[in-house]
């Protein structure tokens, strides 16, 4: 049997995802969290769907992942070295999904958006690994990161305050895409103090993945405009408790290789 719904715990972490085969260990996990009822589907179509092919788009994306992971360490001082193989494994699994391939094929024409989407996925997975999240949550986090700007038009502009809602509407209309991913897309510009957009949600109104993605997205967008990684780093972590959840800022800070950061030559 296959789960026909995604179930999260109180903190928004995924316990079981739609389309996942219900193994004994997953059922045990659900019981541990007092989940007694779950919608199921018989195996068949879903199993065929999960073994989708690795297209040319996915192959190109995985080589971009390898290049960008290296760049994130050497030019930005973020410690991804120990997690490279895990990041690639998660991305490899995520890139098999047809809707991820479709999005990447479309935004391939916009290099800024393409690289931003993949880089935020790398940084998010890296933070998730430090937090010791399981593979299922890491994969969902990566999908959220890749698709978070799917509401962006042809121009990659941070001033487009409608793009989270446009993206949410687009993702929500696709039944293959989990609602969690659509909601994270909607909330990735919402800030801890309620000053974000489009709704001005704050604290308990923002999902865990969106809190994490907000900081990664902010940091990466700043670096597109400013070439000094030290300045950008301090500006980002300086928003602790203002724009970003303090716990997420601590998590982000724990991925910084300070000695590397201080030894990056100024361009």
């Amino acid at each position: 049997m296959i789960a026909n719904q995604t179930i999260c715990n109180d903190r928004g972490m995924i316990l079981v995802a739609k389309g996942v085969l219900l193994s004994t260990s997953i059922i045990y996990r659900l019981r541990k969290f007092n989940i007694e009822v779950i919608e199921v589907k018989e195996d068949g179509d879903e199993a065929a769907q999960s073994s989708s092919t690795f297209t040319a788009t996915a192959r190109k994306a995985i080589s971009t992942v390898i290049d960008l992971t290296d760049n994130v360490f050497s030019c930005r001082g973020l410690n991804v070295k120990n997690n490279i193989s895990d990041i690639e494994l998660v991305m490899h699994s995520v890139l098999k999904r047809p809707f991820i391939q479709e999005f990447l094929a479309v935004c391939d024409k916009n290099e800024l958006l393409y690289k931003h989407s993949i880089r935020t996925a790398i940084l998010s997975i890296n933070m998730g690994l430090v937090q010791k999240w399981d593979t299922l949550n890491l994969e969902y986090l990566a999908m959220c990161a890749i698709l978070h700007d799917s509401g962006m038009g042809r121009e990659f502009s941070e001033h487009d305050t409608q793009h989270p809602f446009v993206g949410f509407t687009k993702l929500r209309a696709n039944p293959d895409i989990d609602m969690l991913i659509a909601v994270v897309c909607l909330q990735h510009h919402e800030y801890y103090n309620g000053s974000g957009f489009p709704f001005g949600f704050k604290r308990t109104q923002i999902t865990e993945f969106a809190c994490l993605l907000a900081i990664v997205d902010y940091y990466d967008r700043l670096l597109m405009k400013n070439s000094d990684p030290r300045k950008v780093m301090f500006e980002t972590i300086g928003k602790k408790g203002i724009l970003f959840d303090p716990h997420m800022v601590d998590l982000f800070s724990s991925t910084i290789d300070w000695s590397r950061l201080y030894n990056i030559p100024m361009s």
Partner: protein, 122 residues
């Protein structure tokens, strides 16, 4: 009528179903958090959402704001155990709630909700 009940307490969901099913023929779906509420709204397409104010993120008010934006037809009834706190009432009404009722749900309050929904629908 199709009702979607969103509350993280199984006991409350059962109680709400009992109260409303005694008053009208209603088809129910349930959700325990904000994400599941939005997912069930997509697949079940309810006429009415009975939505608890305090649920795991995104909370009841956030779900209310999103639903009010994406579905102009759905009637959203907020439920709260926080008593008659004016700021909650103000927030909910401003964000598009159809009604607000306090927990535990009294039969007469549920009846009022059903009547006003029918009136507006007709």
């Amino acid at each position: 009528m199709k009702f979607l009940i969103v509350d993280d307490s199984a006991f409350m969901r059962t109680q709400i179903k009992q109260v409303f099913s005694e008053l009208a023929y209603i088809e129910f779906a349930e959700a325990v958090n904000g994400i599941e509420a939005l997912e069930k709204h997509r697949t079940f397409n309810p006429d009415v959402v009975i939505l608890d104010y305090i649920i795991p993120a995104p909370d009841g008010l956030a779900v209310l704001k999103i639903l009010a934006e994406i579905d102009k037809k759905v009637k959203i009834v907020m439920i709260t155990s926080l008593g008659n706190q004016n700021f909650i009432y103000k927030d909910c009404i401003e964000c598009g709630a159809f009604a607000i009722i306090t927990k535990p749900i009294a039969r007469e309050n549920a009846l009022k909700v059903i009547k006003s929904i029918r009136t507006r629908v007709i």
